[in-house]
């Protein structure tokens, strides 16, 4: 329990990180450093995106599986690390 907290704090302290969200398989945000409305928005949208991305990867090669997803936008980068039951979302503003 404490290790999880520590890890999250470590990621949070990285340069440019704007927020971290942990979401479970049902789309419920478990932990978040952002406000509720943004959290809910991210959780819902990322969940759908993950399903689509994973589906695509496995469709092309059934032996393959999604390990990581990066969405780079004009303002920031959204990194998603998926797992079977949970996924971790980190929003970072990369240094230019």
């Amino acid at each position: 329990m404490a290790e999880v907290e520590e890890t999250i704090k470590r990621i949070q302290s990285q340069k440019g990180v704007q927020g971290i969200i942990i979401v479970n398989a049902e789309g419920i945000p478990i932990k978040s450093t952002l406000d509720n409305s943004s959290t809910v928005q991210y959780a819902g949208n990322v969940h759908q995106l993950l399903l689509k991305a994973r589906g695509m990867v496995r469709d092309i090669d059934p032996q393959n599986d999604l390990t990581f997803l990066r969405v780079r936008s004009k303002k920031n980068e959204i990194m998603i690390a998926p797992d079977k039951d949970y996924f971790l979302i980190v929003i970072q503003n990369p240094t230019e």
């Binding site: 999880v4 890890t7 440019g16 942990i22 419920i28 809910v40 690390a81 998926p82 797992d83 240094t95």
Partner: protein, 593 residues
């Protein structure tokens, strides 16, 4: 020879059941062979009989009716909380969350993926992995100049009505270019079926299944234009000669229509928005020979009228029917009209008298001028599309065009310049092909020729970015095509080369014109002299009959000459093809000629 077998039965025996019995065979008729008939037949040896041992199969085609589907989506916002939990309740949700956090599986998973995530975060901070390298060199080196010009169909918009009408005119939405307004009507004289719908549609290019908006005029629209200043206003010219304008915010019915008495008497073939302070002026042209100017706020009557009478008398009976109009906002006082008779009339708006309005005419086409457009980069040169050719003219040379395409096998029905490249223009033909011409690359043939559909293509419009173009066909199918990058990016020195080419051709035509004038003068002076000398020969003009007879004679002479040439060519072929054959065959062939 009739073979008849007769039997009798007693009336009392009718209706009795049949009693079958055996009896020996009886000979009723014996037809003996008649040998003389054999003379009418010859033995055929060998007989060719084709036999095939294959399964008999029949071919059937089935196509389901068009299935209209709409895309809908649901977005879950608040995750899948268990049924008994009320997501609004703060305490319960916090408790749930804490429970999950205590779960060991959770902790293990998070440790794993957090490690992966940290790696990526650090990576981001270390270097910018999406950095653009070689940015300055991009313009020179990475140009796809080797790319073959191509165009591909992006979307096809079909007329949703049962009775298909021709897509006579298209107009792109002025901002954003996501919408295309298409005018549908049937231009075949009196052949429009009674239940033909009058509607025209505005399509969203992303959705080809259903038009975004319907415009319901009183009579089918022949042409349609968006107001370049206000993208909600469209003006349309209809088949019965009236002009109507729509405001897309107000609905499908026209906001206002011109009165029948003051409108055109023939279908309005082209309407163009003018550059004015109020942004509400339009002018329209029709085959009744008039060009009318309207203010859309007051559609009860046009505020100006011009009759296209080449004798400059304003006589409507002599007037030339107008089929296309051209107006360039950079030259607001001039405009050009393309007529049914094949003449392009250049007019000046600011002239005081109607007689002075018509400045000059350009002749050279054999049929109605379906499209007329100035080159967006070189306004002194304009493109006309008519009969079987497309011609490029220079304003200064009135006798002939400076450049022209060859005569095609099918009529050319519409054309336009590319708004981004001065040397590229597009034409569409009656056999359903779209031609893309690049005059810097090839002058004799189109750079790209695509067969878009099987029926005639009646209209074409290029979007302002030069990349997308829409073409409408006779059955109401509008096809949206995307052109390859090479055809819509300005090449280096393109403007300079095109301007050089136009100047060179203009100069050539000028020289030719001067020569012609000289020759004509000489002819005239010679004929005058000969008339003085001999006095008898009524040189004058041959009567039309004589001209026709002479033309016939010349035609048949040419035919004979061609036939002879063909025969000689055939002989040549026989001779060269079979080098082993003896000279006998050669002589035989010669005799044919």
């Amino acid at each position: 020879m009739e073979i008849v077998y007769v039997y009798t039965k007693k009336r009392s025996e009718f209706g009795r059941q049949c009693n079958f019995s055996d009896r020996p065979a009886e000979l009723h008729v014996d037809i003996l062979p008649d040998i003389s008939l054999a003379a009418n037949f010859t033995v055929r040896d060998p007989c060719n009989v084709t036999v095939q041992c294959a399964e008999e199969m029949s071919e059937h085609e089935v196509n389901t009716e068009r299935f209209e589907s709409e895309s809908r989506g649901i977005n879950h916002v608040e995750g899948g909380w268990p049924k008994d939990l009320n997501p609004e309740d703060m305490e319960v949700t916090i408790r749930y969350r804490k429970k999950v956090e205590k779960d060991e599986h959770y902790q293990n998973t998070i440790m794993q993926i957090a490690g992966l995530m940290e790696h990526c975060c650090k990576q981001n901070n270390a270097t910018d992995i999406y950095q653009e390298f070689f940015e300055e060199e991009d313009d020179e080196v990475v140009e796809e100049s080797e790319e073959q010009p191509s165009a591909k169909t992006i979307n096809v918009f079909r007329d949703p009505n049962e009775v298909k009408r021709t897509a006579t005119s298209l107009c792109w939405h002025p901002d954003g270019n996501h919408k295309l307004a298409v005018a549908y009507s049937s231009l075949e004289f009196q052949r429009a079926p009674n239940d033909m719908s009058f509607d025209s549609y505005i399509w969203d290019i992303e959705n080809p299944n259903k038009p975004e908006m319907t415009l319901k005029p009183v009579s089918p629209l022949v042409c349609l234009e968006y107001n370049p200043k206000d993208s909600h206003i469209l003006v349309g010219g209809s088949y019965n000669g009236q002009i109507a304008y729509w405001d897309t915010r107000k609905g499908s019915q026209p906001a206002e229509m011109s009165t029948i008495e003051h409108s055109h008497r023939d279908p309005v073939y082209k309407v163009i928005w003018l550059q004015s302070k109020t942004g509400t002026d339009i002018f329209s042209a029709s085959t009744d020979g008039q060009v009318l100017w309207w203010d859309i706020r007051k559609m009860s009557e046009p505020f100006e009228r011009l009759v296209l009478d080449p004798s400059k008398k304003g006589n409507l009976d002599n007037a030339l029917g107008a089929v296309s109009l051209e107006f360039e906002t950079t030259m607001p006082t001039k405009f050009m009209v393309g007529t049914e008779q094949g003449l392009v009339v250049s007019c000046n708006r600011k002239a005081k008298t109607p007689a002075e309005k018509i400045v000059c005419t350009y002749s050279g086409h054999h049929g109605p001028i379906y499209a007329l457009q100035r080159n967006p980069f070189f306004p002194k040169n304009f493109l006309t599309v008519a009969d079987w050719t497309a011609r490029i003219w220079s304003e200064d040379i009135k006798e002939s065009s400076i450049m022209w395409t060859k005569y095609h096998m099918a009529h050319l029905l519409d054309g336009c310049w590319s708004p981004v490249r001065p040397s590229v223009f597009f034409t569409v033909k009656m056999d359903g092909t779209l031609d893309v011409w690049d005059i810097l690359f090839k002058q004799n043939d189109p750079t790209l020729s695509l067969k878009v559909c099987d029926e005639a293509l009646c209209s074409i419009r290029v979007q302002d970015n030069g990349r997308f173009l829409g073409c409408g066909s006779q059955l109401g199918t509008t096809t949206l095509l995307e052109v390859s990058a090479g055809l819509c990016t300005l090449q280096k020195n393109e403007k300079a080369m095109v301007s050089e080419m136009f100047e060179r051709e203009t100069k050539r035509e000028k020289i030719l014109e001067a020569r012609h004038r000289e020759m004509r003068l000489k002819e005239r002076s010679r004929s005058e002299q000969s008339r003085e000398d001999e006095g008898k020969e009524a040189d004058g003009e041959e009567s039309t009959e004589e001209l026709v007879a002479r033309a016939e004679r010349e035609f048949f002479d040419i035919m004979e000459a061609e036939k002879k040439k063909e025969k000689i060519n055939k002989v040549y072929f026989v001779y060269t093809h079979d080098a082993l054959c003896s000279s006998v065959i050669g002589e035989e062939a010669f005799e044919l000629a």
